[in-house]
């Protein structure tokens, strides 16, 4: 029977091993010989260094060799160009079969990395490039650290994915810089859309003892190390408060985690517990507790869902299913936007910024047109004021975004998108007018959220050029773009749409021309179940709270407020017309819109009394659990139907849409992994969405 480590290595058979290459260097100032270890997986920076079992064992060998020597003054570790190391190799994690294997991987990481801090000679980490997770921890184990001011990303993203920084991170970091700053990296940033920090902040936080510019970072780090070795530099670090401040920091972070997740994801809580206990623990105790936490978490469904979600946004998003060959795409050298409202303005700004081509807005009303163009110019000024763009770029953007009262200005446009009132006849007429002036190949795109793209194209001479191009609000924040193929849409138009989406840096998901496409259909359904429960007689607060255990970014009623009750009602009506058996319109919702209410909550975060009054009545109150169950069951059923209808290629596309268009969390894997592991899929549909395990690709 092979050891768990050997078993793990077999499971990681495809590991791209990051080798630890050792080379002697003469330290300046006669400080002696140092062993410089370079982490390098043999690929360029697009495939960063990671630690799998093979990589850890390679590092272990390098440390063995250094430990055996008596003629060296120091050991230093750095990365290949632009990359230090981005942490554990996660590709093999879903393959781990049992807790013993998972525990062995965690322990192997500790056993190897901790030696960097326990050699007889001083050890240095020269963080030359991106460092994440286990890469950061490798640096933390060293006695001293330097960081390049050019490091673009430095983070402990474990809690974001469903893990803890369990190769020493939860113990070493708070002991180095204090619990408050450590929790910023361990908890706060991962839960804040996996925010990362840069080189100068690494120095400011006290994680690195010195910072040098990228041009000759390693050389200057070696000079600095030589001075430390010789005693010419004494590294002084502020003493860490191991008293009340530590507990207070943990309590604050606990409050944050509870507020965001409502217990939905186990990893951040576990990380917090480790940091809390690290205060009193010895290193050995701390590391052993991390091993246990990793072993437990690696076996959780939430981690598997997290890794699947990570692959969705990192990989699937870049290779959209169903996209035609990109060689078919036509050039887009000028863009037209029909309408000059808020959405049109956001689109004009995005197109101008990302495509660097002229963008013309049209509107029938001069005042509205001016307002639209002014909005874009104002946003450009804001970018300029924030230093995000220079004066030249600002000048260029402003000169590129213009307005016109007539559609003649579209004559030489290659791509015209409409963002006018959501009414079929209006949109059909707009397209007819545009078609009259543009070339036969120009793409006509619609930002409709729920109307049929096929019908919109039906009266055109060239319906094959029409595509749905559905953005999510706020356009600058949410990456999703639902690309809708009408019945007659041809490959060239679709290819052009995908190429354009890519330039816009959006995540394009190909959807069939089905009512409300993906995100609005599912969110409306989900919200509809909650509103339905309210209509039946549940207190709105109770119903709104019912889905909190999922850890969604916002509650259903807050989402209703953000989308706008009127818009939400419109989509509900569309879907209720299309699928009367599964979608209905809440009469209370309708009355709220008729009453002109746009806000659900008051300034005190309580439900507005008038809305509460509108949401009262009915005789049958449901429990929170009942509401959660019915909402999830409705989702599972609807997704199954959507897949059968071919709305998207695979369940993975549904999840990608929910993550990038609605901000649904990684620990749910979007939603289908959660529906599978919580048993809802089988209960409702008789089968899982992912019977063979979650596969993002």
């Amino acid at each position: 029977m092979s050891s768990p480590i050997e078993q793990a290595r077999e499971l990681f058979a495809d590991e791209v091993v990051t080798k630890a290459l050792s080379r002697d260097v003469e330290l300046p100032y006669g400080a002696g010989t140092a062993v410089l270890i370079t982490l390098d997986n043999g690929h360029d920076h697009t495939k960063p260094n990671t630690f799998g079992p093979g990589g850890l064992l390679s590092l272990n060998e390098a440390i063995d060799a250094a430990a055996a020597r008596t003629d060296i003054a120091a050991v230093a570790i750095t990365g290949k160009p632009f990359i230090f190391a981005v942490g554990a190799d996660l590709t093999g994690v879903p393959l781990l079969e049992n807790r013993d294997q998972a525990h062995a991987i965690g322990k192997l990481g500790h056993d190897v990395l901790r030696r960097l801090g326990e050699l007889d000679v001083p050890t240095f980490a020269f963080v030359n490039g991106a460092a994440m997770g286990g890469g950061v921890e490798a640096a933390l184990h060293c006695r001293y650290r330097t960081v390049s001011s050019g490091v673009p990303a430095f983070a402990l993203p474990e809690a974001f994915l469903g893990l803890v920084p369990g190769w020493g991170g939860t113990y070493l970091l708070p002991h180095l810089i204090g619990a408050e700053k450590a929790l910023k990296l361990i908890i706060e940033n991962p839960l804040n859309q996996n925010k990362m920090i840069k080189g100068p902040q690494v120095r400011e936080l006290g994680i690195a003892d010195a910072m040098f510019e990228p041009a000759d970072f390693v050389e200057e780090s070696l000079r600095w190390a030589a001075k430390v070795v010789k005693g010419d530099i004494t590294v002084e670090r502020p003493e860490v408060d191991k008293g009340e401040a530590w507990d207070q920091a943990v309590n604050n972070a606990r409050f944050l985690v509870e507020g965001k997740l409502h217990g939905a994801a186990p990893a951040p809580v576990r990380a917090l517990d480790l940091v809390a206990a690290a205060k009193e623990r010895t290193r050995d105790e701390g590391f052993a507790a991390e091993d246990d936490a990793l072993a437990d978490l690696i076996m959780t469904d939430e981690l598997k869902a997290g890794l699947y979600a990570f692959d969705l946004v990192q990989k699937r998003a870049k290779r959209p299913a169903g996209a035609p060959d990109k060689s078919l795409a036509r050039k887009v050298n000028k863009v037209g936007v029909v309408g000059a409202g808020l959405m049109a303005g956001q689109l004009a700004l995005l197109f101008a910024r990302r495509l660097d081509v002229p963008v013309v807005l049209t509107d029938l009303d001069q005042e509205r047109l001016d307002k639209g163009v002014d909005y874009v110019h104002g946003e450009v000024d804001k970018l300029l004021a924030k230093g995000r763009i220079g004066q030249d770029k600002a000048n260029r953007l402003k000169s590129q975004v213009t307005g016109s009262l007539t559609k003649d200005a579209f004559a030489d446009a290659d791509f015209v998108i409409e963002a006018v009132f959501e009414k079929m006849e209006v949109k059909q007429q707009v397209f007819a007018e545009v078609e009259a002036v543009v070339s036969p190949e120009a793409i006509l795109a619609t930002n409709t959220s729920s109307l049929s793209v096929t019908e919109m194209a039906s009266r055109l001479e060239h319906p094959e050029r029409v595509v749905g191009f559905h953005f999510f609000n706020p356009v600058a924040v949410l990456p999703l773009l639902e690309l809708v193929r009408g019945e007659k849409t041809d490959e060239a138009a679709l290819a052009t749409a995908f190429a354009t989406a890519k330039k816009l840096k959006k995540t394009a998901v190909l959807c069939k021309d089905a009512p409300a496409f993906v995100v609005n259909r599912l969110l409306t359904l989900f919200m509809g179940e909650v509103l339905g429960a309210v209509e039946e007689g549940t207190e709105p607060e109770t119903a709104d709270r019912a889905v909190a255990p999922l850890g969604l970014p916002m509650s259903p009623l807050l989402l209703l407020q953000l989308v706008g009750p009127a818009v939400a009602l419109h989509v509900s009506e569309t879907l209720a017309t299309a699928f009367p058996d599964r979608f209905s319109v809440s009469e209370q919702h309708r009355r709220m819109v008729e009453a002109g209410k746009t806000q659900v909550f008051g300034a005190d975060f309580q439900i507005d009394p008038e809305v509460k009054e509108l949401f009262s009545g009915g005789g049958k109150a449901s429990s929170e659990q009942e509401i959660l169950d019915r909402a999830l069951e409705a989702l599972a059923k609807e997704i199954r139907i959507m897949l059968d209808e071919g709305v998207v290629a695979e369940a993975a596309d549904i999840d990608l849409c929910l993550i990038t268009g609605a901000g649904w969390p990684f620990h749910l894997g979007g939603i289908t992994p959660y529906l599978d592991f919580s048993g809802v899929s089988e209960r409702v549909n008789g089968a899982k969405f992912h019977p063979e395990g979650y596969k993002a690709l």
Binding site: L21, R23, V25, E26, L36, E213, V218, R223
Partner: protein, 400 residues
């Protein structure tokens, strides 16, 4: 109003350790990265010099393509983090590239166009072998403008033995052994290291390393060792890899400034640029170039070789140094000549070498306050020589 020429001083120099081309230290390191390291080191060693006060960055390279292209003086200045307001250019006179960068930019200071310049050179002969991408005009041969041997430097060295029959292979080898010995001694005394900036080297197989010392020197080389070497340029010839400089990688740089500006900023002024001269010779004996260049210079200054206390002559080939010495009646082992050895031992990354000669001369001046004048001189492919006359700012006003 008549223009007054300003005095120009050599402030400081620095260079990367030199490597062997091919599989040497810098096999996987970019040429422009070497220049960047040198420029940054010069600024680091001279914190009194505000970077925005650098008026020009003149960097030489013989092969100006790839990582030695893109107007390397400017691109290296940007990569080194100099303010964007600091301009730069690339310059080429083959082996005398850096020397020419210094004289050209120095002349600009004297003219009043600059206050402070950085001048240097680089050659990564591993990444850019001699003759890479050249396309000689066929007229050179059809009209017999040059001898076919003129483009191969080793052949020109063999030709020089023909012209100076008294310079035997044994004399050349003996000179080479002395060069190796002098470099070994200078290293032991820590002379050479003063101007080196340790430089990061990349290797995919071995990881990052640090170049801390020159790679080419072969301490302990004997006449017997050299006698065994082949003569690749001519069967039974005289020129061997042992009595010539190798193929090398490296970069050099120096700060030159108007003397009054250096004083105002508190910069060092190690030696003063007195004059310089370039001269052409038949390309097939390019090694003799320093002779007419130096004659021209001395004549203009009304000086003779007796006035010169130190000579830093580039050792592309031992025969070429010996031809110079023989012409001026200087002994092969004269103590004034290359006291710390030369390119036969240290290496000769073509366009970088001229500034190495200068930094070494400036260090020697400091140790020899009795010496007033010194030369840096070198031969140049296509048949040229270049000589620069320097005055020791430490000169104590007695002796020569």
């Amino acid at each position: 109003m008549p223009r007054t020429a300003r005095d120009v001083v050599f402030v400081d120099g620095a260079r990367t350790p030199f490597g062997k081309a091919g599989k040497g230290l810098y096999a996987e390191t970019r040429a422009d990265d070497l220049v960047v390291r040198v420029i940054r080191e010069l600024l680091r060693r001279n914190p009194q010099l505000p970077p925005e006060r650098v008026d020009e960055v003149a960097i030489a390279a013989t092969t100006q393509i790839g990582d030695q292209g893109l107007t390397i003086g400017r691109s290296a200045a940007l990569l080194a983090g100099l303010p964007r307001s600091v301009p730069g250019y690339a310059i080429d006179r083959m082996c005398a590239g850096a020397l020419t960068a210094a004289t050209t930019a120095g002349a600009g200071i004297s003219f009043g166009a600059y206050d402070v310049v950085i001048a240097g050179g680089v050659e990564h002969m591993g990444r850019h072998p001699m003759g890479e991408g050249v396309d000689p005009n066929p007229r050179f041969l059809s009209e017999k403008l040059v001898d076919p041997s003129a483009l191969v430097m080793g052949n020109t060295a063999e030709n020089l033995h023909d012209r100076f029959p008294s310079i035997t292979k044994e004399r050349a080898d003996a000179y080479a052994v002395r060069s190796q010995d002098k470099v070994a001694k200078a290293y032991a005394e820590g002379k050479i290291q003063q101007d080196l900036v340790e430089t990061l080297v990349r290797s995919v197989e071995q990881g990052f390393g640090l170049a801390s010392a020159d790679e080419p020197p072969r301490a302990g080389t004997s006449m017997e060792d050299l006698a065994k070497l082949k003569t690749p340029f001519r069967a039974h010839g005289n020129v061997t890899p042992g009595n010539a400089a190798g193929l090398n990688d490296g970069a050099t740089g120096a700060i030159l400034a108007a003397e009054d500006v250096a004083a105002e900023m508190g910069l060092d002024a190690r030696m003063r640029l007195v004059d310089f001269s370039f001269a052409g010779v038949e390309p097939e004996v390019m090694g003799v170039g320093p002779v007419p260049a130096t004659e021209k210079l001395l004549a203009r200054q009304g000086m003779s070789m007796d006035d010169i206390g130190l000579i830093e002559i580039n050792e592309a080939f031992a025969v070429q140094v010996l031809a110079f010495l023989e012409h001026f009646g200087i002994a092969d082992d004269d103590a004034r000549v290359n006291p710390w050895g030369g390119a036969i031992a240290l290496g000769h990354p073509l366009a970088s070498s001229g500034v190495r000669l200068m930094m070494q001369l400036s260090r020697l001046f400091a140790e020899h306050p009795e010496v007033r004048y010194g030369l840096t001189t070198m031969c140049v492919g296509m048949g040229m020589g270049g000589t620069v006359l320097w005055e020791n700012t430490n000169w104590e006003g007695n002796a020569k």
